[in-house]
């Protein structure tokens, strides 16, 4: 394939020489050539090329007064240390020297990098420089060294403890500099997570320590505040007074410009709220949260808004009243990304009440006229949820939906509306005016229904309100004929409805259907679940007592309360504790998606 080679050559130019060229640049006698070569090595590394073979040559450039070059060499070293562990030791001298440099920037850089060279033998050399930098005069160096302790622990917990670094680190929590405090805390938490030795106590809180942290809170950078606030959620107040004190200190942070500080403060306040004794005080505190919560939705970062909304949903479930007046804030904007729009609807339905229902329904109607089908479906569902939540809205909601079918009438809308209508009837069972309003609409569109949830819905309606369907027998004929073609969830509904209709009917009009459906379900059907159900019906029907039969088969469903999904209480408790974390956005407790082994060290010391 000479042609191919030719083309390749033409387009790519000679390739062989690259490594060679870099190598000769790295050992050039001219300083600027060396520096240029280092830059190019880093560039190659950035685009994903493997330049580890240049390790020895790059390393030769480590002793330099040029800070930028030093940083680049250090960066290279961190990336490829593992490929040349033995050579890393050659860098040790420079590292140690640099930790004594008069310039704190270099001292910090050296200790930061040393910690990142994850080579076992580094442990032996790090003790002295780390000790020194942890008690450096310059807080910039100390805050960097504090983090380095965690890096060392990751590499060798034993050495870290034996050298006494844990004690030194704990001492830094009381450092005069807030950033050192925050990093010491971070480092200790990291170590706590990594620690597998149950006899080792890494960090314990007492009121004294908490007091120190609270003092420090206002002095910190935004990130330090988050660290301290997160620490406060891990502490249980010993008294109502202490809890109020913590809440008082956290409350001003609700005004911080960083939404993450705001959310962490909310978390702290909710965490300690339970320990506050006076109910009046508790509700006053809760009141203060509504505006900060809303502010999460007006952040300029859509992704942060989304996290905010996900957290609001959790908080709302525990404290439903907290945002009762804030509906309009959640109206969707045309420019919102779809994922935000959908999540906003979730909040809107949860805020529905008598006073805002008219506004809410007309807004939902707008969304149902949009073009993104996911939004349309959710809007229809939401209209249903509102009708189910607020009895006064039923007629209005039904009219909106039937208008929607008339106007747009595609099968997507018919399907979704059928399910919603059925749910409305389940909420208000036996209300004749609703039945006569709703059933004819569904009856007119049965042929367009093809989604399984909607199909299940209308089949259930057959069983529940047989009299309202004019050509019931034809429908049943076709359902029974195609019984085996349906998925098992539909089969179950056909089964139930046929049994019910038969039981309710005084004549034998439907006994054939019954016989056939039971035979099909028990003999031909694969699903064990459908078979179980069919046998249960069959055996029940063969039992003597018609009373018992009626009691079971014609048992009325109690009205459903809501179609807005809620968390299982166990889950909710977890989520409230895990606000602002990944759990809060997946809406799943951390144990369900975090691998427990994550917290143990990954890289064993060889």
């Amino acid at each position: 394939m000479s042609l191919e080679k030719k083309i390749r050559k033409f387009l790519q130019g000679p390739k062989k020489g690259e490594a060679y060229e870099l190598r000769s640049g790295l050992v050039s006698q001219y300083k600027y050539e060396r520096k240029d070569a280092i830059q190019r090595v880093i560039q190659a590394m950035t685009v994903g090329k493997d330049v580890s073979s240049l390790f020895p040559d790059v390393l030769k450039n480590i002793a330099t007064y040029d800070l930028e070059q030093k940083k680049l060499v250090y960066l290279y070293l961190m990336n490829y240390a593992k490929s040349h562990p033995e050579l890393c030791i050659l860098a040790v001298n420079t590292f140690v020297q640099d930790t004594e440099d008069p310039n704190p920037l270099i001292r910090a850089l050296a200790i930061r990098t040393m910690g990142c060279v994850r080579v076992a033998r580094m442990v032996d050399f790090i003790e002295i420089p780390l000790k020194r930098t942890l008690s450096d005069d310059n807080p910039y160096v100390r805050k960097t060294a504090a983090i380095c302790v965690a890096k060392l622990f990751d590499l060798s917990p034993k050495a870290c403890v034996e050298f006494g670094f844990l004690d030194q680190l704990r001492g830094l929590i009381k450092d005069s500099n807030p950033m050192v405090v925050a990093n010491a805390l971070n480092s200790l938490f990291e170590i706590k997570d990594m620690n597998v030795d149950s006899s080792l106590v890494v960090l314990e809180f007492d009121s004294e320590l908490i007091k120190t942290l609270l003092m420090c809170l206002n002095e910190c950078t935004e990130w330090g505040r988050i660290t301290i606030l997160d620490t406060l959620t891990k502490y249980e107040a010993s008294s109502s007074e202490e809890a109020s004190h913590i809440i008082d200190r956290a409350t001003p942070q609700l005004q911080h410009a960083n939404p993450s500080v705001v959310l962490s403060s909310i978390k702290v306040i909710l965490h300690h709220l339970g320990s506050v004794k006076m109910p009046a005080q508790r509700s006053a505190i809760l009141k203060k949260l509504s505006s900060p919560l809303v502010s999460l939705v007006s952040s300029s970062i859509p992704e942060a808004q989304y996290v905010g909304l996900k957290n609001i949903r959790i908080i709302l479930e525990k404290y439903p009243q907290i945002l009762s007046k804030e509906l309009r804030v959640f109206f969707i904007k045309y420019s919102d990304p779809l994922y935000l729009k959908l999540e906003k609807l979730e909040i809107m339905v949860r805020l529905a009440n008598e006073s805002n229902s008219t506004l809410l329904l007309s807004e939902l109607k707008e969304y149902a006229m949009e073009f993104e089908s996911a939004l349309v479906i959710k809007a229809i569902k939401s209209i249903g949820s509102v009708a189910i939540k607020l009895p006064d809205c039923v007629i209005k909601a039904v009219n909106i939906l039937s208008g929607l079918i008339d106007q747009r009438g595609d099968s997507l809308i018919v399907n979704e509306t059928t399910t919603v209508f059925t749910n409305i009837l389940r909420r208000y069972p036996g209300k004749n005016d609703y039945i006569t309003l709703i059933v004819p609409i569904i009856s007119a569109h049965v042929s367009e229904i093809n989604k399984s949830e909607a199909t299940a819905s209308y089949i259930w309606l057959f069983g529940e309100y047989p009299k309202y369907f004019s050509n019931l027998k034809d429908h049943l004929d076709s359902l029974v004929d195609k019984f085996l073609e349906y998925e098992s969830s539909i089969q179950l509904h056909i089964l139930t409805s046929v049994v019910k209709i038969n039981m309710a009917s005084s004549s034998n009009k439907y006994s054939n259907h019954l016989q056939r459906v039971l035979e099909l379900a028990t003999k031909e059907c694969e699903s064990a679940d459908v078979r179980d159900k069919a046998y249960i019906y069959w055996r029940l029907l063969s039992s003597t007592s018609t009373d018992s039969q009626k009691k079971v088969i014609l048992a009325k469903l109690p009205p459903i309360e809501t179609t807005i999904p809620s968390f299982n209480p166990v889950v909710l408790e977890h989520l409230i504790k895990e606000l602002s974390t990944l759990s809060s956005v997946y809406h799943r407790p951390s144990y369900t998606f975090i691998d427990p082994s994550v917290y143990s060290p990954v890289n064993e010391v060889q």
Binding site: R426, A456, A528, Y535, L540, V552, L557, T592
Partner: protein, 615 residues
Amino acid sequence: MGSLKTFIKNVRKSKTIADERAVIKKESASIRTSFRDAGLDHTTRRINISKLLYLYILGEKTHFGQVECLKLLASPRFADKRLGYLATTLLLDENQEVLTLLTNSLDNDMQHPNPFIVGIALCCLGSVASADLARDLHGNVERIFTSNNPYLKKKACFVAAKLVDRDPDLAETFMPKIDQLIGEKSPSILLGVSRLIQAIYDASPESRPALVKTVPRIVGHIKRVVSTGYLPDYDILGVTDPFLQVSLLSTLRTLAMDSTCSEKYLEEINDILTQVASNIDTGKNPAHAVLYECIKTIFTIRSDQSLRVLGVNLLGKFLSSKDNNTKYVALNTLLTVISIEPQAVQRHRSTIVSCLSDGDISIRRRALELSFAILNESNVRVLVREILQFLENCQDNELKPYITSQLIYVSDKFSPNQKWHFDTLTRMLRSAGSDVSSESVSHILALIMQCKDTELKKHVISKLVSSWLHDSTQFCLSLVTIWTLGEYGDLVLESGIYTEETEKVIDDTLILSIIESGINNTTFTESETTLLVSYVLTAIIKLSIKFKRPESIERLRVILNSKTHDTNLEIQTRAVEYKEIFTQDLQLKKGILAKMPPPVMKEAQTMSLQGSSHQ
């Protein structure tokens, strides 16, 4: 209006994607505006259409230019026509309404004295032909066959084939041409007639016997190609015209499969295949392409034993090739060979299994499908172990449902004994329990119901429970475990099971904890949860007559009642009905909830990883 070149340069100069969008949208707007100009000259129109093509390549909208393309190709100048037709074939397809406006131009141009104009018109018809166009214009194509221009004739063959695809009735029209065409020697016309034969064969069953009669001519052509010397114009790395060879071989395969293909013809075919298979092997891709087609033909038609051996050997060579493409097609072909030469394929078992851990998903997929295909009574234990291991480490989520359903199929068919069978399925549920189809779940449950050996049943249930305790996030494992506990809980109550470290006793408390975790799960999707809770409810009602301790029974009732307000229709209905059953007297309940009779077993289904089935 700038030139096309300027437009392309401006697009390429854009630093951000937003800039690029703006450049494109503005240019598109100025093209649209320019089209409105009633007095637009052809040169400007041509520039516009060129730009439109560039928009098309970029994936932009071009619908507004469709009519303009038709206007351009109606110009008398060749350059206009050439671009006009090119744009039409790219921007339009058979579904466009404006296509009707094209009929006239095509009709005229296909009768044009200039053969190149006829050529581009033909080409256009070949790309956008709808059934209507086929009916209206087939006469023009017919006429071209009578001309003596080979350039047009070859094109006409392909276009005729396309028209037959669009309107099967046209098979009759073009069938009479075959006889003359198959006598031609020009390679490109032969490519065309080969395509036309296949099209007519597919469209018209009546024509098939007549088409089969061309076999000797086709064999002759192949023989000629294979035995000619070096033809620089047609040679690719030592192989003469692989395009033609492959096309003829594939047509031969179609015809040889026809029921009217005589033994004599088959013999001829066998001979020519032998010749092809043994003559070419340069070890290069063009040779492999021809051999690959040849091997496919050998194993598709009724070939001789000796020829099949030759084919198997060639495949063996392919399989050991370092070139991944050759390896891939070998694995792909072995799958079709397995039903004909099972022993030969078995020989490659270790290679196939080693391909399961190949770094390339394409190879892995083929190897996987092949592993299942070569599975039989004698190697089932070894291979299933390999496959289960593969499944446990499998990161390709799309493959898992296939693997699980195939595992069910093969263990049904080849399991050495029942215990092994159940152990395999349990292990499968444990490692890929979220990728098992509902049919498979039903199948597994049916197997358990079928099992008459009570001790084995107990073993299965405790295995399930201990697997569940190990990992409760596998959906189908949960389903099967919960259903089984409901149905057979009494068999295992108070018996011990071994989990990883500790020995546990299956008692009310343990079962209740499984039930509750089923109800309170947070791992599964909404629809999965609905299904699981439905299973749990049935398990609850069944257990209500199996548990002895009143407080456990009461616990069951409480859980059941908690679901009577559920939003999900099925769950609510079920909970309400069961709640009523719960209050019935024990005798009646025992009747209703007696053991489920085992169902009639259905055969598990086998499936393929490739879109369409193999020949």
